[in-house]
Amino acid sequence: MPFTSQIQRQADYHLFSPDTPIVIDNGASYFRIGWAGENDPRVIFRNIVQRPRHKATGETVTVVGDHDPTLLKYFDCTRSGPRSAFDSNVVYQFEIMEYILDFGFDRMGANGSQQINHPVLITECVCNPVHSRSKMAELLFETYGVPSVAFGVDAAFSYKYNQQLGVCARDGLAICPGFTTTHVIPFVDGEPIYKGSCRTNIGGFHITDQLKQLLSLKYPHHANNFTWEKVEDLKMEHCYIAPDYSAEARLFQTGAKEAEDKTRTWQLPWVPPVVEEGPSEEELARKAAIRERQGQRLREMAEAKRSSKINELENELQGLEFLMRQLEEVEEEDIPSFLEETGYLSKQEVEAAHVKAAQALRKAKGEPKGEQIGIEEKTDVSTDEKFPLINVPDELLTPEQLREKRRQVFLKSTNEGRQRAKQRRIEEELERERKIQEDEERRLENPQLYLDQLNGKYRELSEKVEQRKRLKLNGNQTNGGVGRGERLNAAQKERMRLLTTAAFDRGKGEDTFGSRDEDWQLYKMMSKDNDDDDDGVDPDEAELMQVTSRLQEIDPTFVPRVDVGGPSQPAFEVPKFRPLTKEDFQIVLGVERFRCPEILFHPNLVGVDQIGLDEMAGASIRRLSCGSQDLEDRLTKSILVTGGSAFLPGIIQRLEAGIQMIRPCGTPISVFRASDPILDAWRGASYHASSYQFAGQAFTRMDYYEKGEDWLRGYQLRYTI
């Protein structure tokens, strides 16, 4: 279950007498503070501090504990991540510790009084280095004016509390998987024997971190969703400890049904894209009707235009015919003057205009092109007459006429060129038609053979094209740095050669590079863009396209081979050419559920070269070297598991099995979980502080200054009251 913080400001600070100690459980994950003698701590919050900058004012503020992320939007949190006062399980950052203590005392309601006038019992780690201890004492005495201070180990308090509850006996073992470290402490006669204690630097933090990394690597696209807090929630909800890791892993590997049951999926919020419903029947009908009407209107307009144009042309034609008839009646000499009114200069012009008008009329009426060609040829012939001067020999012409003649020659040649091009085009078309015709005939006579041939050709061509593409791609896209052996492309080889020779310092002789223009072409060859340039579409590719289209037409079973881009795609890459479905947004927790907590028992899975929980128990008993079998039996008979990570399901069975393996056969083993693994430490401390012997255990400021550091190092709390 997720831990919640309670940071309500307490109002009854002044109600407590100065004798009542304040009890602080200073853990690497949570900070718990409260009054001695009570059952629960008053204030609980996450033991982290953030120092973001306020966006508007620019001042740096301090935020203690975890807070509503929406409020943090007013602050610029980029340069300030959450920071902890702890390094492993030892407090070293006392500035942060001060902020945390400030916050804690403030929420206890102390703001308003002169100093913290109560004795303080604070927890620390096992065998805390004296440097940390003294700095903590200094902080409490100097800054807060605390009269007396006592230090204790949280795991010991937890054990004592459970001993009182009857969960465990006076002699026993406390196994405490914490946030950053795991301890095993033997208890003899109710007192912890630190000589026999054992510490491994693996804790809940490492489990969460491992889970976070694994999920981010497995689902790189959803990496943003895996925040630390979210992953911690996932861990608390879904992780468990398998009784036998290998068996469980094999279960998942074979894909048995039990594995399916044990797999949990987390559906990320995902909104399916809105599928536009196909327009309904009525819509379609309505749209079709509108289109029809529009088409009709357009057709009518076109008709009207055409008919009016035809009318015009007919009129013109008639006029011209009339004119021509008139011309025939008129004498030769009178033609120019006669024609002045109409705007035509000579009889030929009139005739030409007449022919053109007739042509246009026929086109407007929509007659087949065959006749048109004939008419065009006729018009071509008539153009010959336009160049009358060409055939006249040079000597007979005046200079002006010569110029005229040259112009006409030029025009005629261009005309002829145009005609020749037209001719060629016509021939090509006929040729293509003929080929298609032949193809059809071949297909009709033997469809199967034709199909096979076509398929074969398709395969060949696609192979060739792909190979070329692959060469080009491999040459350009080498993973990471390009090494000597990976320059497969000839162009790349050439380029590299040029680069090395160009960079090579030509010692002797004059450097004549650049004296000729062609030298600068070298840079063009060196540039990488050159490789990408392709001279248009390869003839192979063009043919391939043709064959594909042909096959698609005639063969219903033909499926063009999709070009596979590059090496095989990784299994967890989201392919882009299909719409994202719900499954893409699901996080599957299968093996990770029991793989991550496994590091408590096998720290070498994360590279920490130390023994795991079950072996630690054995090491601890060994270190104790008590010698008597009886004591050892008593120790294993009452093993208490406490600390935040004790909540993992399956830890009890696993520990039992593990310890059974290392102890001599037949020893009685019983493992219990503490009644409340998280709060028991604080409760034990609170109970201890409320006893009247506590006053003798705490040391005052005077003691601290007089007795010095050595004494502080030897200071140990007595747990048996």
Partner: protein
């Protein structure tokens, strides 16, 4: 400060009556706190635990020894048992499908998988 921030009391006040020396006096702006305090490694070095008797428990004494059993070899990607190691990337894998996946991983992912196991080679 915005109203809702004030209401939620998000920010730690700078002055407390119960403190004899306030934070802003003790830690003037400018000096980075990171350099002011010794890290655990430095604390351990400074304390020189060799001075003390080997019998007495101290912070360094009570560390766990390395394990006697051979370490468990599990696949880096899937978590199954992994008898094989990829010679190029040094990742452990369980079967051929996983091997295909390993060979198509970007360099960055390979490094991260290795650092999970504390086996990544960091080039400086």
């Amino acid at each position: 400060m915005e109203a809702e921030v004030m209401e939620a009391e998000l920010v730690l006040p700078t002055h407390f009556s119960f403190k004899m020396a306030q934070s802003y006096e003790k830690y003037p702006k400018g000096q980075s706190s990171a350099r002011r305090f010794k890290h655990l490694k430095q604390i351990i070095q400074a304390e020189d635990f060799n001075r003390y008797l080997p019998d007495e428990p101290n912070y360094v004494n009570i560390e766990s020894p390395p394990p006697l059993h051979p370490c468990k070899r599990i696949c880096d990607i899937t978590g199954y048992e992994a008898p094989y190691v990829d010679p190029r990337t040094k990742l452990r894998y369980a079967n051929t499908e996983v091997f295909k996946i390993i060979r198509s991983l970007p360099n960055d992912h390979v490094h991260r998988y290795l650092s999970l196991r504390n086996a990544a080679v960091i080039l400086k």
